[in-house]
């Protein structure tokens, strides 16, 4: 059976971002337990973010060692994958400040995720390198269930992780494409498959735009809490268009299988690939809008290129 301890460290100095491809519960534990225990032996801070069933499985297998590990529910902290980098950034800061090295486990692309979520998981994995390369040294192991995830997802993980581990061993990924962040951000989203309501807005239309979105959200049966969240998201995103996206934008609304979708487009370009993923500093005047939308909404897909910026907000029905 493969254990990580059998393999040399590829890079002790920087951020090590590694995909672990496992099969079945045994394969999951065989990959994870040595990684976690090695961290504990080295007195590193070990933080595991997994969906709840996997958390329980790992906790049971760790026995007494579980008390030394921080467990996070990935389905909660990473419901919208665009929130996860912020969680790791805070965790890294906290443990680095305390003088301890961080060792993380994060399974964002867990089995049961919707297709659109898995698309965002892939972008998230790619952006992790952009976010943490060149920063403090820490390791992040990302398990992928080879038995149950679509092949496109596991194949994509080879493009987003510089290191991969399988039963065959731990090695640098020859398919890694860490430089493809801007291309990934520019990749078009799947077009709507159903009828779309569309409108335009300018500087004087922000209140009307948010009211229109709220009205639509009520009409398609969202709860009042979801309506309020979408209204707030609409205000923030339309304001961004007016302030930073050429002064105007387009809102499109439709329902697709399992989701109410509201999409904001404008002619601006988002230059920071991590926009909205990291908590802005308290002194910073702007930059909170997309961050807030990421935190409050079920799924947010941001794409930006020379042709403009699109922010698609999905609310699960």
């Amino acid at each position: 059976m493969t254990t990580l301890q059998e393999f040399p460290d590829l890079d002790e100095a920087g951020f090590e971002h590694e995909a672990l491809f496992y099969r079945g519960d045994d394969g999951f534990l065989a990959g994870l337990l040595p990684f976690v225990r090695e961290g504990l032996e080295r007195d590193e801070s070990v933080v595991v973010a997994e969906p709840r069933p996997r958390l329980e499985q790992l906790r049971d297998a760790l026995g007494d060692d579980a008390a030394s590990v921080d467990f996070l529910d990935m389905a909660e902290i990473g419901q919208n994958p665009a929130r996860i980098i912020g969680v790791w950034a805070r965790t890294l800061q906290e443990h680095t400040d305390a003088g301890r090295r961080l060792r993380g486990v994060g399974e964002p692309a867990f089995v049961g995720r919707r297709e659109a979520e898995l698309v965002e998981c892939r972008l998230h994995e790619l952006l992790l390198n952009h976010a943490f390369d060149g920063g403090p040294a820490w390791r992040l192991l990302c398990p992928y269930d080879e038995d149950h995830l679509p092949r496109s997802v596991t194949r994509g993980a080879r493009h987003t992780h510089p290191v991969t581990t399988t039963v065959a061993g731990r090695r640098p990924s020859v398919e890694y494409a860490g430089g493809g962040v801007l291309d990934a951000l520019a990749a078009p989203l799947a077009p709507p498959t159903d009828a779309v309501l569309r409108g335009t807005y300018g500087p004087a239309d922000i209140p009307a735009t948010r009211r229109t979105v709220a009205q639509y959200a009520r009409k398609v049966g969202l709860s009042e809490e979801q309506v309020e969240v979408l209204e707030l998201a609409a205000s923030e995103l339309a304001t961004n268009s007016v302030r930073h996206g050429g002064g105007a934008g387009t809102v499109a609304m439709w329902v697709e299988q399992g989701a109410a979708v509201v999409e904001f487009s404008d002619s601006g370009r988002v230059t920071d690939p991590l926009a909205g993923r990291l908590m802005p500093s308290l002194e910073q005047t702007g930059g909170r809008g997309v961050y807030l939308v990421n935190q409050l909404c079920d799924l947010v897909q941001l794409r930006s290129s020379d042709h403009g910026t699109v922010v698609r907000v999905l609310t699960w029905l």
Binding site: P203, E225, L292, L296
Partner: protein
């Protein structure tokens, strides 16, 4: 809670309120003057009319029982041009104005009136960008005085021809607002010991909110901000509140926020605004 809202008609006599009345034309203004004064007479209040435009309107006003000249002669109605009002209350500074109107209200009560009813047309002060900030501060300070003391009723009349920016600034600091063209995004007023924020605050009105809050009179016990009438606030609105709270915290003045919606609380947490400014959240008082 103190009466508040948007108005289509002059409030009934008996209300001790702070009304912003934006008039669309001379006829509408004259009608408002007549109704507001008649309301004061019905209640037995002393009347003080400030501004050339009000004085002009009084010349043609038809009152139910007495004419204007009789009322002036009896001391029941006084008029002041803007220049006279400055001379009476000192340069246009909120605290000077407040001291003057406090004394005038006390005098009216002492002389057997049920209070002092002021009708002011000060569009000129609102039109001038140099005097508008002081005017806004005065309106806000006056509202605190009106909320805490019975016997002082004010209607501030402004011409609908003022720039929208000026009208929004002015309307924001009145609990009662009448405007021919829609309602202001938010209103901020006092209710006993609370500051009440009503309506919507977004990126385009957050600076206005910040300016008004900066002028809020805050006692030694700190501030209580009631947001139970706040229908919508975005990130910029929340940040304006956090900045205000931090400014007060720097002066050792605590801030309590009442009636915050679950989404407001959630937004405050997500944006880590509690690290910015310590704010106590309480449920709205019944």
């Amino acid at each position: 809670m103190r009466a508040h809202g948007t108005l289509s008609d002059i409030p009934e006599a008996g209300a001790t309120d702070h009304v912003c009345w934006v008039y669309e034309n001379d006829e509408a203004f004259d009608r408002a003057v007549a109704e507001f004064i008649a309301g004061g007479l019905e209640r037995g209040e002393r009347l003080l009319c400030v501004g050339e435009r009000v004085i002009e309107s009084l010349r043609g006003v038809h009152l139910p029982a007495q004419d204007v000249a009789t009322l002036v002669a009896a001391g029941a109605l006084e008029t002041q041009t803007l220049a006279e009002a400055y001379a009476a209350a000192g340069t246009f500074r909120p605290m000077g104005q407040l001291a003057y109107y406090e004394a005038a209200t006390r005098r009216a009560l002492a002389e057997g009136y049920r209070g002092l009813r002021v009708l002011a047309e000060v569009s000129a002060l609102a039109a001038d960008p140099a005097t508008r900030p002081e005017l806004i501060r005065w309106e806000h300070v006056a509202d605190d005085f009106i909320a805490r003391n019975g016997g002082f009723t004010v209607m501030c009349a402004y011409s609908g021809t003022l720039p929208q920016e000026a009208l929004s600034d002015i309307a924001a600091v009145h609990p009662f607002v009448h405007t021919p063209d829609g309602v202001p995004p938010f209103r901020i007023f006092f209710d006993d010991d609370r500051i009440v924020l009503a309506g919507s605050v977004d990126s385009f009105s957050a600076d206005r909110l910040a300016h008004v809050l900066a002028a809020s009179p805050i006692g030694a016990a700190g501030a209580v901000l009631d947001v139970s009438l706040l229908e919508f606030a975005d990130v910029a609105g929340c940040r304006a509140l956090a900045l205000w709270a931090r400014g007060l915290a720097d002066r050792s003045l605590p801030v309590e926020v009442r009636g915050a919606s679950p989404l407001f609380r959630r937004m405050w947490d997500v944006l880590a605004l509690s690290e910015y400014a310590a704010v106590g959240f309480e449920e709205a008082a019944a």
